[in-house]
Subunit: 276 residues, 3 copies
Amino acid sequence: MNSAEMQRKILSAMGAKWAERPFVPSVTNYVTAGFVADCQLAAGCSAAMLNLPDEACEAAAMCSAFYVNLGTVVPVYEKTIPAVCEKLSELGKPWALDPVAAGLGETRTKLLLGLKKHKPSIIRGNASEIINLARLWELRDGDFSCGMVDSSNAAEDAVDSAVLLARYTGGAAAVSGSIDYVTDGIVTAASYGGSPLMGRGTGYGCALGGIAAFCLAFAEPFTAALCAVNAFNYAGKRAEKKCAGTGSFRSAFIDELFCMTAEKIAHNPFEIAECQ
Amino acid sequence: MNSAEMQRKILSAMGAKWAERPFVPSVTNYVTAGFVADCQLAAGCSAAMLNLPDEACEAAAMCSAFYVNLGTVVPVYEKTIPAVCEKLSELGKPWALDPVAAGLGETRTKLLLGLKKHKPSIIRGNASEIINLARLWELRDGDFSCGMVDSSNAAEDAVDSAVLLARYTGGAAAVSGSIDYVTDGIVTAASYGGSPLMGRGTGYGCALGGIAAFCLAFAEPFTAALCAVNAFNYAGKRAEKKCAGTGSFRSAFIDELFCMTAEKIAHNPFEIAECQ
Amino acid sequence: MNSAEMQRKILSAMGAKWAERPFVPSVTNYVTAGFVADCQLAAGCSAAMLNLPDEACEAAAMCSAFYVNLGTVVPVYEKTIPAVCEKLSELGKPWALDPVAAGLGETRTKLLLGLKKHKPSIIRGNASEIINLARLWELRDGDFSCGMVDSSNAAEDAVDSAVLLARYTGGAAAVSGSIDYVTDGIVTAASYGGSPLMGRGTGYGCALGGIAAFCLAFAEPFTAALCAVNAFNYAGKRAEKKCAGTGSFRSAFIDELFCMTAEKIAHNPFEIAECQ
C-alpha cells in the first residue's frame, strides 16, 4: 500500500458518495452536538442525536453507521451506550467511538471498559485518550493518567497505542494532533494540514468522529478514518486563511466541509508507512 | 380570505410587535437549543429553556406563549412535558409543538399520544412527522413509519394530514419542505422562498417552531404560523445570496431574522386556497 | 485604589497569562455550553463541561479554577452541584457562580440556598439574579421575584445587593447591564462598552461567567471579575462595528476574544469608586 494506491481507494469509495444522505445517528455530548450535526449535514449525512435506549436502538437498526461520543456522560447513558453498542454488534453495523476524556471518573471508565467487547470500527481520540483507552483495555502496560479533554501528549506518542487498538478491534484508530495519524494496525498514515485554531474552539475532535462515522457508510474503517482526517485537515487549512479568529474560522470550516469533494480528500497531503 | 387580506392581517398583528419582548420559554432539545434561543432573541423574544417540571410549570404561568420540541427526549421529559402541557391547557395559554422524529421509539410515541388531549395551538413538522402524528392521533388511517429527523415524504403529501390535525386542535399546522404549507383546516397557505441550505444545517425546523411560538404572543394560530414560515422563507432566501456554504449561511440567516419587519413578513410570496 | 492602580494590577495579573492554558472545567447549561467553551478556548483556557458527581469532583481536584452555571438545571445537578462545590471549598479552589434565573422553581432555589455556605469567589448575574440571590441568602430584605433569564431590573438597582454578596463571600460580585458593575464590597468598578446585541443573542452572560472563572486562575476575585467584564465590553464594542446582525456579531465577538490582550483589558474604559 502506498499513497497513490490509497488515493485511488479514497476516490473510489467517496467518489459519488459524499453527496448522498446515509442515516448516521449519534449518542453524543450536548456541548458540541449542534456542531457535530452541522458538520455531518454539511457533508451530506442525515443526522440524529439520541439519548434513550429505546430510540437509540431503533435508530441503530435503521442506520448506515453510528457514532458514539462520551463527551458529556449523563446518567441515562449508562443504559443507552451499552444497549446501542450491543445492538450494533449484533447487527454487524459499523460504528465510530470517541472516548472523550478517557480516564476521568468511575462512570466513564466503567462505560469504556464495557465497550471493549463490542470492538468499534473506528476509534478517534487525542493522544491522551488513545493511550488511556489502550491501557484501560489492557492492550499495553502503564497506569492511565487522569483523562483530560485537551491532550497532554503529542500525537506521535500515541501511535503505538493506536496500532494496538486497531489490531485488537480489527478496525482503525485515529490520533488527532498537529499531525494526525490513522492506522489499521498494518499500515499507518500521517495526514498533514489543519490549523492550530481547531484546538482553540470546541468540538473539532467530536465532529471528526462524526464524519468518520459518516464515511463508514461508504468505506472500510481505515479508508473511512483517513477520508475524515484528510477532509478535516483540508478544511482547516483553507478556513484558517479566510478568518480573523476562532469565531469566523468555525463558519469558514463548515463552509469548506459543505464544499468538500472526493478529489480534495484524496489529494490532501498524507504519507503511508508500514507498522513495525 | 385571500392573500391581500392575509397581508393586512399580518401587518396588523406583527406591526409594532416584532420588536417587543414577550416571554416565550421552551422545553426543547439540547442539539439546537442555542440556535432556537438565538433566533428567538434575534426576533425580539425573551427566551428560556427548561428541563424540570417545577420550573417549566412556573414559566408556563408567566409566559405569553410556550414552545415544546421533542428533539432529544431525556428521561425527565416524561414528567416535564405532560406536566407543562397540562398547565398550559388549564391556563389557556397558546403553545407550539414540534413533534420531532414522531414515530421513533416507545417513549416518544407515548409522550406524543399523551399530548393529543392538550391540543397545541400550532403543530410544526416535516412531512413525515406531520403524517406520523396524524396517524398516531388516529385522525387518519395507515401505519406510521419509523420516525426520521429528515423527512422521507414531500411536504405536499402531508397537507391532508396537516388539515386533519388543524381541524382536530382548532389551531394551525405547518409542514416544512421546499414549499411550506400552513393550514387552519379551512384555508391552506403555500409559502415560497427559503433555501436548500436550511436542510443542510441543524435546527432550522426547531427554530421555526420557536418563532411560531413567539408569534403566538401576538396573533391567532394560523396568522402566527404563517408569519413564522414567511419570515423563515424570506430570511433563508436572502441569506443564501450572502454565503459561501452552510457555516456562513447560519450567521447570515440570524442577521436576517434580527433585521426582520412586519412588511418583509407580509410580502414574502405566498398563496392561499380553501381546503377541500 | 484608583483606575490607574487597577490598570497596573490587571496588566500584572494578565500580562503573559492570557495565552496560558489553565484547566477550568464547568458544570453548566446545555443551551450555551458550546459558546461558553468556545469563549474559554478562544481566551486560552482548557475547558471541560461535566455532569456527573464523580467526574466533576475529579476535575475539581485537577483544576486551576471552576465554573458553576445554573442555566438548565437537570436532575443529576441536584447531586453534582452540591458535591463539586463542597469539594472546591475543601480544596480552597477559586470558582465562579452564575445563578441563572435565581428565584425560578423550587429545585433551583434549594440548590442556590445550599451554595451559600460555600462562598463562591465570584458571583456573576444580571440585576434580577443578583437581587434575588441576595434576598435568598437573607443578606437583604424583600421578597424575591420570580426569576427570569432576562432581567427586569437595571444594573444600577442591583449594586447594593452585589456589595452585600461580595461582603458575605469575601470575594467579588458582578452585575451585567448596559453599564457593568464589579465590586469586592469595598470598591465598585463601573465598566463601559459592550453592545446591545449581547442581549439579543444567547449566552453572553454565561460566557462572561466562564471567562471570569478563567481569570480566577491568575488573579484574585475582584481583579479577575473586572478583567472578564472589561474583556467582554471591549470585544462587544468592537464586534458591533463589524457585524450586520446578531449572527455575524457572534463570530466577530469570538474573534475579538481570540485576539484579546492584557493591554486591551486594562484600557477598556472603567471607573472605580469606594462603596458606601
